[in-house]
Symmetry: C2
Subunit: 303 residues, 2 copies
């Protein structure tokens, strides 16, 4: 069974009726499981995550988009978070043995259907992007709903991948595919913020570090320590243990110890298993040796 | 949902018809999943593993025992592996948030039912044992089928926990509860077997080492190296990383590097997660942060 994690965001964080109606559309589709559903009233935004086999995930995301288009009027929407549509973004994230290519295909298929059947302009982004200038969601969403409404149909750079060159009250939707993001912070035994900032610069991609690391230095004032706060955007290519060891080595150069680390929010199992594999120096370890994988892996497996 | 792993062994490793019939009894019970089924013709023994919710696991094990009793005649059984019954052992192993206490309860409930309904003598062993001299399976099975048949009814020490004091053609069955066993080997960068033997003695319980470690030193002749070969009998109380670090430290005393390790067979996910937790020095990591656990954990969870 090829599973994906789908994390759609909707421009409604206040009306519980609308939130429930959107969630219900997803849960009506068999084999979907909502694992996260959090509305923020300041952002006026609903952040929802569900897991399903690819086909059902596409269907559930389509139904939720249709429902949101009927209930949310972007001409009346206000909220702190950048947004351009009633269903603002729909990223597909590979799980288990699902590939990124399959998620890209899912995003493009869903985008086409939303464009054609719901007449909502769709922009493909991240791994599903058809143009390099649409990889980054912030670029796709530039000007937000109001700005895009003005530009679309005039500026050819803003022609959607699917759907009409015109924004209705449901706005536009970004549909894409991406790796799961891991929020990983390393705490240092010093109160000197400059050390955390130097290490952040050393390890992050933008200033010459590891390819899939974003990093900043922060103070944790209550504890009197500093932290290298990171987002790992592709844990398969830049694994947690390599990031951790690089931070530790850089800290050592200043004589500073690593006193702990933290993973904020959700992490895929294999990101942790790869750390065990690395530190235990395992030879030829296979994922199907994990008891739980025998249960939750492929169906109809032989034995 | 409280899951258990159940690993019954049957005294039949040659007749595919009998093997299939026993397996079918287990698979007939809803929500059971056979994850391993391997017959050894020299041992003349079937090693089977399945996962199920506790109630279904008891039912499936009962039906398999009944079927084996009807098909296997211990008076005619020959095989290298020690055995005392058609269904020789039935251990329950906790999974996920299932406790050892729940497995002990399952073992005792199943043992009672096998004794009463099938008239097969049942001995409770390991964590389910009611007497200290029955903790160890080898002690329970002493004399095997033939020896026990002679002794039972005469020697009060061999009175079964449930069922008659008399062995029929189905023999007797040991029913118990235990932690999963992890086969973990550490490879050393030397051909000197005495080093592996010394380290095995240092880390194993029997000679003063860690509580839940059995260890021996071996040569891997093809590779020209030696290995500390271990069984970890309770990875929650004696975790893999602690064993690994102790072996590494002892090897260092001889100037020998650890060049790799291996996990043979199946390992529970949380045994690996605890290694990631240790080496990454994670603060306050919770198992429900693992994406897969959100899917496969408790049903009806809130979000």
């Amino acid at each position: 069974m090829k599973l994906v994690l789908c994390v759609p965001n909707f421009s409604e964080g206040r009306s519980q009726d609308i939130i429930n109606a959107i969630r219900a559309e997803i849960e009506k589709v068999p084999n979907t499981k909502v694992i996260y559903c959090k509305a923020d009233s300041d952002h006026n935004r609903l952040d929802l995550a569900f897991v399903a086999p690819i086909k059902e995930a596409k269907e559930a995301a389509f139904r939720a988009t249709r429902k949101a288009a009927g209930l949310i009027d972007m001409d009346k929407h206000k909220g702190e978070h950048p947004r351009m549509g009633a269903t603002d973004v729909i990223p597909f994230v590979p799980m288990g043995n699902t590939t990124m290519e399959e998620c890209v295909e899912a995003a493009r298929g869903l985008g086409k259907r939303i464009g054609e059947e719901l007449k909502i302009p769709v922009y493909l982004y991240e791994e599903a992007a058809t143009r390099p200038d649409r990889k980054n969601l912030a670029d796709v969403r530039r000007g937000e709903y109001e700005g895009l409404k003005e530009e679309v149909g005039k500026n050819p750079d803003r022609k959607p991948d699917f759907g009409p060159e015109k924004l209705g009250k449901a706005g536009a939707t970004a549909v894409g595919a991406r790796m799961p993001l891991i929020a990983f912070n390393v705490n240092l035994g010093t109160s000197d913020l400059t050390v955390a900032k130097k290490i952040a610069r050393a390890v992050r991609h933008s200033s010459g570090g590891l390819r899939y690391v974003k990093a900043m230095g922060f103070e944790l004032k209550e504890r009197g320590i500093v932290q290298v706060s990171m987002n790992l955007t592709n844990y398969k290519k830049t694994p947690i243990f390599r990031v951790f060891e690089l931070v530790r080595r850089e800290a050592k150069r200043y004589g500073i110890p690593v006193i702990g680390s933290e993973i904020v929010g959700v992490v895929p199992m294999d990101a942790l298993v790869s750390c065990a594999d690395f530190y235990l120096q395992l030879e030829k370890f296979k994922k199907d040796q994990i008891l739980e994988n025998k249960l939750w892996g492929e169906k109809n497996e032989g034995s």
